[in-house]
Structure formats: C-alpha cells, structure tokens
C-alpha cells in the first residue's frame, strides 16, 4: 500500500515540477535547515538551563516560555518543506528506515517538549535535568536520522 502511495505521489504534477527543477530541492532543504536551526538552538538553550549547566538572569521557566515559540512555529514550516521534499522522491524517504526513526523520535521530542512546557515548574530539579537530557538526545537523534536518509536505502 505504501508502495502504491509512493508511485501515485511520484506521478503527480507537483512531484514532477520539484524533481525536474534542479534548484527547488536545495532551496527547500535550505529552508528546512533554517527552521531546524531555530528549533535546535532554542531547545538546546532551554535544555542547558533545565540541566543547570547554564545560568541566566531569568528563571528557567521564564526562559523556556520566551524561547518555546521559536520551537513551535518552525514545525509547520518543517512539515510543509519536508512534505514537498518527500513528494519529489517518495520512496527515498517514506520507505527508508532512517525516515521512520526520525518520525518516531519527533513524536517523542514533541511529547517531551509539551511535557516540560506544561509541567516543568512543578518538577524537582533532578526531574527537570532528566527532561533536559532526554530532550537533547531526542532532538539530536532527529537531526542525525534526517541526515542519514540520504545514506540509507529503502
């Protein structure tokens, strides 16, 4: 069924346009990476505060509240550019184990981020540090799995 979907998507006009204009894929990837830059830098700075490795004038919760929009608003941009990249060569990613891992990690990362957005203020110091470490590992894993899509075969 996934095979059939990939074949259908690849036959669409959209897929044809993206894959036959040499500059569209690098341009989409550039926007994708810039959105990732916003997410990664914001998440890492929040996490370093939660873990207690970096201090600042604001509390970790105030700091997180200020930076979380820079984690959430790039996500729709990532979804759209990601979907367009997939449509150019559907089987390359949809049937690729790295892509599956990336999506699973993303689900975990979004859950963790929501959790500390809602609960961080009420958690113990150790629990916050644990969340921070888990968050760094998950978001790092997403970037690594994303890069590996280019190197693993479906």
């Amino acid at each position: 069924m996934l095979d059939a979907f990939c074949r259908w998507l690849q036959a669409t006009q959209l897929s044809l346009i993206i894959s036959t204009h040499f500059w569209i894929i690098p341009a989409l990837q550039t926007v994708h990476i810039l959105a990732i830059a916003s997410v990664i830098s914001s998440v890492f700075m929040i996490d370093l505060r939660l873990i207690g490795l970096v201090r600042g004038e604001q509390s970790a919760d105030q700091f997180a509240a200020r930076l979380l929009p820079f984690v959430w608003w790039p996500l729709p941009i990532l979804a759209v550019t990601g979907a367009l990249l997939i449509s150019a060569e559907p089987a390359r990613s949809l049937e690729n184990p790295s892509f599956g891992i990336k999506m699973a990690l993303l689900l975990g990362a979004i859950t963790i981020t929501l959790l500390y957005q809602r609960r961080a203020a009420r958690l113990s110091r150790v629990a916050r540090a644990g969340l921070g470490i888990l968050s760094i590992l998950l978001w790092t894993g997403i970037v690594l799995a994303g890069r590996w899509i280019a190197y693993t075969q479906p």
Binding site: P26, M45, V143
Partner: protein, 165 residues
C-alpha cells in the same frame, strides 16, 4: 596550493573519511547539528539588534548569555567542516558553492569584528529598550542575511560537486 590540498587529501584521516562507509555521514551529522545551533543562536542576537525580538532584554546580557555557546558550537562546526573538506580537498576547492560559502563566512566575521570594535563600544547608550541605532540594525541585518546565504551555499555544495577523478 594544489600541493597542500593534495597532501591534506592523502593524509591518513582524510583517506579514512573518504573511503569509509559511515565516517563521512557521521561527521556530516555533527556538522549539521553544530551549524544549526550557530545559525539559530546568532539569529537570536541579530533579531535583538534589529529590535524584532527580546526587546525587553538588555542587549549586553543577551549577548553574554548566547555568544559563548555560539562560539563553542562554531568550533565544532569548524573542526567537523575541516574533516569533511580534507576528504575531498581538491574537489571542494574547485566548487563554486564552497568558495562562495568561505567568502561569505569571512564577510560574516568581518561584520562581527566591525560591530564589536565600533557599535558595541557604545552599547550603554542603547542597551536597554527596544530601539537600537542604525549601525546595530545594519550589523544584525547583514549577519542574518549572510548566515542564511552560508547555509544555502553549504547545502548546494552536495548538489554541485563534480568528480575530478
């Protein structure tokens, strides 16, 4: 110059990266991760300079909180980038996107140096409050534009590499 590039490319580590199955992608992963942090964190400072974000925060405090982390990530990006470069030094040097990327990096460094030496000297006059002087806005806008172009050039390298044999 060609001799140096050839020498670099023939070193043991460069050969290992080029010929190994997984070394290049792993180093690339580290490079992408480090650059993501560099670009995102610099953008935070740039947006403050432009008066578009963190307007209620003292510039010097924001700068002091973020920039040391940016430098740490930049060191990682530089080291991993050098390792990737070494694997195909001759080819990269002949690649237009790579050359552009290095040129833009130099411009970003120059922009930052000028900002540090001139505009930042007078920071006490605009440290608090959302309005920043034109020179600060210019530095922020230039930095943002340059780093976006650096990412674009970096991403294009992989699509424009030609085999020189």
């Amino acid at each position: 110059m060609f001799g140096i590039l050839q020498f670099l490319q023939n070193t043991g580590f460069a050969t290992a990266i080029r010929e190994g199955d997984t070394l290049f992608p792993w180093i690339e992963c580290v490079h992408v991760l480090a650059i993501s942090f560099v670009v995102g964190s610099i953008a935070a400072v740039d947006l403050r300079l432009l008066g578009l974000a963190s307007r209620d925060r003292r510039f010097s405090r924001l700068n002091a909180e973020i920039v040391p982390l940016t430098w740490a990530a930049f060191a990682v990006a530089l080291a991993s980038g050098f390792l990737l470069f070494s694997a195909k030094a001759v080819q990269y040097s002949a690649n237009l996107s790579f050359e552009l990327k290095m040129g833009l990096l130099l411009l970003a460094g120059l922009n930052m140096t000028i900002f540090q030496l001139l505009t930042f000297r007078g920071v006490s006059a605009w440290d608090i409050g959302p309005s920043t002087p034109p020179s600060a806005k210019l530095a922020g806008a230039l930095s943002l534009t340059l780093w976006i172009a650096i990412v674009a050039c970096g991403r294009t390298i992989g699509f424009t590499m030609t085999d020189l044999g």
